[in-house]
């Protein structure tokens, strides 16, 4: 974010005082604070309900014997796993999950290996064309990916014959540019002297990267991986185009086809749909909750600065 903005300019440090000592505009100290706090909690709680209710409904609806739009459907009762069996019978959850997993892990591996190399080179190594590569990285983040799907479809499916193929599913996402950007930022922050010392000791760049840079950047790498994970795991359009064979479809695609034309095949279609949605949502949500600590707003901020 531009530091030149007047609002971000710092006033002289001497004016620093804890804000609670200051009178507000009414001239009375701290009178409005309880009211302000209550307002904050109200706003935040209303927000939280609006955000969490659909998730709650998703879970409860997936566990009921019959799921309807009736208000009573929001209350858990007679919980059963039958919707999960039903959706599994219709779209074979295991196979879809496996396909989602292979696609996501492929992307993660490529981003981890090639993305870390590129990020390290962009941060710590000097080479001809570095500026150009970095500029392209920023540019690529501005190009709406869906716009490239048609030519990519022609190339990957028609020309290379990679339809219904894991390689074809992975290719367009193989190296996540946002992650490369994050890796670069993290490697830039590490103290230069460490690298110089290792170089004087005769360590090669690969060794420095592996032994020094990566271990120090571990939390950062973790959050970049989480960011990379949700992309291919949640992606719909590309795998939808590339996979026609149901055995090759990742869960997002098979669930979408269940949503649009298979619902009539099961007893409690809404329940089954919500069960599928739960299975699709669970891994990303679980990973996020698990690694939340590492996933700070500053990362997101630096991730979108480009």
């Amino acid at each position: 974010m531009s530091a030149s903005h007047p609002a971000t300019a710092r006033v002289t440090p001497g004016t620093d005082r804890p804000s609670s000592d200051l009178p507000d505009h009414t001239g009375q100290t701290g009178r409005r604070r309880p009211w302000g706090t209550a307002a904050k909690y109200t706003v935040l709680s209303i927000g939280a309900v609006a955000f969490l209710f659909p998730f709650y409904y998703m879970v409860v609806g997936s566990l009921r014997k019959t799921t309807t739009g009736e208000l009573s459907s929001a209350v858990p009762s007679g919980l059963t796993g039958s919707s999960y069996t039903a959706v599994d019978g219709a779209i074979s959850l295991g196979r879809s999950l496996l396909n989602s997993g292979i696609m996501t892990i492929g992307v993660l591996l490529c981003t981890l290996v090639f993305g870390v190399l590129a990020g390290y080179a962009l941060a710590q190594l000097h080479f001809r064309g570095r500026g150009t590569v970095f500029a392209s990285l920023l540019l690529v983040q501005m190009v709406p990916f869906q716009l490239l799907t048609l030519p990519l479809y022609v190339l990957v499916v028609r020309d290379y014959g990679l339809g219904d193929n894991y390689l074809g599913m992975i290719l367009p996402f193989a190296i996540n540019s946002t992650a490369v950007f994050l890796f670069r930022q993290f490697f830039l922050q590490l103290p230069q002297s460490l690298f110089e010392a290792a170089r004087l000791d005769g360590a090669g760049e690969l060794r420095i990267l592996w032994k020094i840079a990566l271990p120090m950047a571990r939390p950062a790498v973790l959050s970049a991986m989480l960011l990379t994970f949700i992309g291919p795991w949640n992606e719909f359009l590309w795998p939808f185009l590339v996979t026609k064979n149901a055995d090759m479809q990742p869960l997002a695609v098979s669930l979408a086809s269940f949503l649009s034309n298979l619902q009539g095949t099961v007893a409690n279609p809404t329940g089954a749909l919500l069960a599928g949605a739960c299975v699709l949502a669970a891994p990303a949500v679980a990973l996020f909750l698990l690694f939340q600590r590492h996933f700070t707003s500053t990362d997101i901020d630096s991730g979108v600065k480009g």
Partner: protein, 325 residues
């Protein structure tokens, strides 16, 4: 150490590197430094090669290919077979500009932006401001807001379809006040519903963005304005809003890109573009024309028009948000 400029071209992956002539270093440490730098230059180019290849293969080539397809009569062919693609000049573009559904799709994006942008800016700024204070359960609230952003569109669409379906939860609450035709099959409500869905799904991301931006707004400015007698509301508009302007610019650009990318929401939420193309998006149209109906040349021209549209709108948005101080 002096800065050295490699004078020879380091083509990606090649080993041709040379240090500049001025490096007649006497000290051995300096010579070692040059050797190191040369090696690092080679290594750097080598490290970045896979990524450069990826960018070429997945971005540069397809972009040029779209342009090429858009000025030819282009047919899908099976791998290995060859069919002529005659040059047709701008006729695909003429088809795009005369197709009424294309106009409708761009109008839909305009509706999307008109609802999505102000709603996103206001809601995320309010939530971020509330979250910026010292507050209990902060981690819980942050996680709650972020949850839809990290969850698959397809999963959330499934829930929304159920909540807002004709026989859905929301209509049961509204009873006789429920709209008829219902939310997602109503030609006036289909596109606004998509805009609300996307706003809700993405909001957490922008809350985080504003939260980070708010931490960069100097506390002193609040104190100074407070001393000058500004109330909370006044402070919000005089200090907070200008302070987070760069983030607002980002919201604008992201909203435009999201609008240009809309596909799964109209495809799944409103059954392939809704009643009478009421929620058809340009990308959905590209899919329908290009892949379903077999006119990839039309779709490519539409894609080029869309990119031009995105660039122009982004530039305008940027100018507006940076100037309006």
């Amino acid at each position: 150490m002096t800065k050295l400029r490699p004078t020879a071209t380091v083509t990606a992956g090649s080993t041709a590197t040379a240090a500049s002539g001025g490096a007649t270093a006497g000290a051995s440490g300096k010579a070692a430094g040059i050797r190191h730098r040369r090696a690092r230059s080679r290594t750097g180019a080598l490290f970045v090669t896979p990524y450069v290849l990826f960018l070429a293969l997945v971005f540069a080539v397809p972009m040029v290919y779209t342009l090429w397809i858009s000025v030819h009569r282009f047919y899908f062919t099976a791998p290995g077979t060859h069919v002529d693609s005659p040059w047709v000049g701008l006729s695909n573009y003429r088809d795009v500009f005369t197709d009424p559904v294309v106009g409708r799709a761009f109008l839909n994006i305009a509706v999307f932006l008109v609802i999505n942008v102000p709603l996103t800016v206001i809601l995320s700024l309010v939530l971020a401001s509330a979250l910026n204070a010292k507050i209990r359960f902060r981690a819980f609230f942050r996680a709650a807001y972020y949850l839809p952003y990290i969850t698959a569109s397809v999963a959330l669409v499934a829930v929304w379809q159920f909540l807002f379906g004709s026989d859905g939860f929301v209509n049961h609450i509204l009873g006789s006040h429920a709209p008829d035709p219902s939310w997602l099959v109503n030609s006036h409500l289909a596109m606004p519903m998509i805009a609300f869905f996307v706003t809700w799904k993405q909001l957490g991301f922008f809350v985080m963005l504003y939260l980070a931006a708010l931490q960069n707004v100097g506390k002193e400015l609040y104190e100074a304005s407070s001393v000058d007698g500004a109330g909370r509301v006044r402070q919000f508009f005089a200090v907070t809003v200008p302070g987070v302007r760069p983030a607002t610019t980002l919201v604008l650009i992201y909203a435009i890109i999201t609008g240009a990318n809309l596909f799964s929401e109209p495809y799944l939420l409103t059954g392939g573009g809704g009643p009478d193309h009421a929620s058809t998006s340009p990308v959905l149209l590209m899919y329908q024309k290009g892949i379903e109906q077999g006119h990839p040349d039309f779709a490519a021209a539409l894609g080029v028009v869309l990119v031009a549209f995105v660039l122009v709108i982004s530039l305008v948005a940027r100018k507006l948000s940076e100037r309006g101080n």
